[in-house]
Amino acid sequence: MSSQATDHAHDDHGHHVTSITTLIATFAALVALTFLTSALAQVNLGRADIWVTLGIATVKAALVAVFFMHLAHDKGFNAVILLSTLGFATLFICFALMDKGQYQPQIDDYNADKRQAAAEMSGS
């Protein structure tokens, strides 16, 4: 079992072989960020809360993607796929959130009807 810990060697086909140091360092960073995000849960940052949380999660995701999933040394197109997917996912969430209040009148009507029906049923 060869164990060159820091080789940035390439295998027979020129594929990059990740060094053990890189793997362990990435893992350590991921664990540290996990503890960070857990600790920050105790702190109230007001409106920044969700953004800090998402930011840390995104950094962790980027570490996994770039190092564990090898995007750093892959054909660039694979990274394009991932980034454009994330772009579309963002669009998806943003458009849905833009609309979040849109159906409130219908919801209120429905609830009013339910309330009415319940009132009639309990005969109050």
Binding site: A65, F92, L97
Partner: protein, 449 residues
């Protein structure tokens, strides 16, 4: 692919003993529709990335549901997260991160032809997956026992001395015993003639054993978390055996008044609703079939909501005592500015109303409620989203386990070499995605604050 036949030596680049092609000089594992191993590898990787893109988008659908509900009912989410144990969530996160490390390392091992390391790293990854599922089992068991299920079955109650969570010990012994037996059987098999199947069966044994281990660890963490909370609220209400759900409950009982005050204060937008709000708090809801009235709406309909709320204060005269005993998680001081006061009381109301609507309400108030009068989002909705997201994620973990068992079979068959390790890398990519999804799920579900 022509590789599935039991070819013991894939390093023989010119094996031509595959179904009568005597004259090809390409590696046995190179499929005919590819011109070169390089193209095959790149195509495989591209295909897997496209699949992962689809996976990201379909999880995004669930995240959109989460985002919309959280944006519209932030206080529900803030209250509901008390039901989840962040220590278990963090533990699961670390476990999955370790499995990702193992798989990334496995790809390296494959590239360097280190077959034995490759195999053990995959077994380790399966162990991590089993551990994860064991923790999930404990989490779900407590949720079921506490009635913290999806909206239509949401029926919060105190943890009692019966239920699934008391069966966890039995489950542990059965799973561990079975796992040891299966593991041993596999171990012996792989020393004999069925090397590949032996490894597969051994790996299944490892999954079972690590699931059992996960159950033990998670239950220990859960119980100690519950006891820690108990200690903090020792003066609470003399209830024993509270589940995680009882966190809010204890808070409610000991801080009911403060909760009221805080909610009255925290709500700047509805200063006019102060009195009504406080009345609501006390409220619960025997007659609250009607109470839940208006939901916390995003903006702009406060007037309507306020009016509706104020129309019902007369019903909200129930003393807090009974509520305190209930799953009054909403009593937890929610300093959430966006949540209207009604919103803050809604979850309590919803929880109460839902509970009473439920046939087996822990403490039924007098009001006969024909149907479950849930108006608007409550913790049940949070749990619908929770179970959908973690459930779909768990299904992906199962699928990953099956994929890994297949890879382990092929590793044992010595299918992989520095020249050919595509499947190892591709299944590894899938597993990293499963980890990625959890990286987002963990803070969004467990660390809401």
């Amino acid at each position: 692919m022509a590789t599935a036949e039991a070819i013991e030596s894939s390093t023989d680049a010119h094996a031509d003993d595959h179904s009568g092609h005597g004259d090809h000089d390409h590696p046995a594992w190179l499929a005919h529709h590819f011109e070169s191993p390089e193209q095959q590898f790149d195509a495989g990787k591209l295909g897997m990335w496209l699949f992962l893109a689809q996976e990201v988008l379909f999880f995004t659908g669930l995240f959109v549901a989460y985002a919309v509900y959280r944006a519209n009912y932030p206080e529900v989410f803030i209250n509901a997260h008390h039901y989840l144990n962040p220590v278990l969530g963090a533990f699961n996160t670390i476990v999955l991160l370790a499995s990702s490390l193992a798989i990334a390392w496995a790809v390296r091992a494959a590239q360097k032809g280190e077959n034995e390391l490759l195999m053990w790293l995959h077994v380790f990854t399966l162990g991590c997956a089993g551990l994860f599922m064991g923790v999930k089992t404990v989490e779900y068991a407590y949720k079921i026992d506490e009635g913290l299920l999806w909206a239509s079955m949401y029926n919060p109650q105190h943890l009692t001395d019966t239920g699934l969570h008391t069966q966890l010990g039995t489950f542990f012994w059965m799973t561990m015993t079975f796992g040891v037996i299966v593991g041993l059987a596999g171990w012996m098999l792989k020393g004999g003639k069925s090397v590949a199947w032996g490894w597969v069966i051994f790996s299944i044994g490892v999954i079972l054993m690590s699931t059992a281990a996960g159950v033990v660890v998670a239950n220990a963490i859960q119980v100690s978390s519950m006891e820690a909370d108990h200690g903090q609220h020792a003066s609470a209400d003399g209830h024993d055996g509270h589940g995680a759900a009882a966190h809010g409950d204890e808070h409610g009982s000991s801080h009911a008044e403060e909760g009221h005050a805080k909610e009255g204060h925290a709500d700047d937008d509805h200063s006019s609703d102060g009195p009504a709000a406080d009345g609501h708090h006390g409220s619960d809801h025997a007659e609250e079939a009607l109470a839940p009235g208006v939901l916390p709406k995003p903006e702009g309909e406060e007037q309507m909501g306020a009016a509706a709320e104020e129309a019902e204060p007369s019903e909200d005269t129930e003393p807090t005592a009974e509520d305190a005993a209930e799953e009054a998680t909403a009593e937890e001081p929610t300093a959430e500015p966006a949540g209207e006061t009604e919103a803050a009381s809604e979850p309590a109301a919803e929880g109460e109303a839902a509970e009473e609507g439920g046939a087996e309400a822990a403490e039924t108030e007098e009001a006969p409620v024909a149907a479950k009068p849930v108006y608007g989002a409550n913790e049940g909705n949070f749990f619908s989203i929770y179970f959908a997201m973690t459930g779909v994620h768990a299904i992906h973990i199962f699928a990953g386990m099956i994929a890994f068992l297949w890879i382990i079979y092929r590793i044992a068959k010595r299918n992989f070499s520095p020249e050919f390790y595509g499947p190892v890398e591709f299944v590894g990519l899938y597993w990293h995605l499963v980890d990625l999804v959890w990286i987002y799920l963990f803070p969004l579900l467990y660390l809401i604050h």
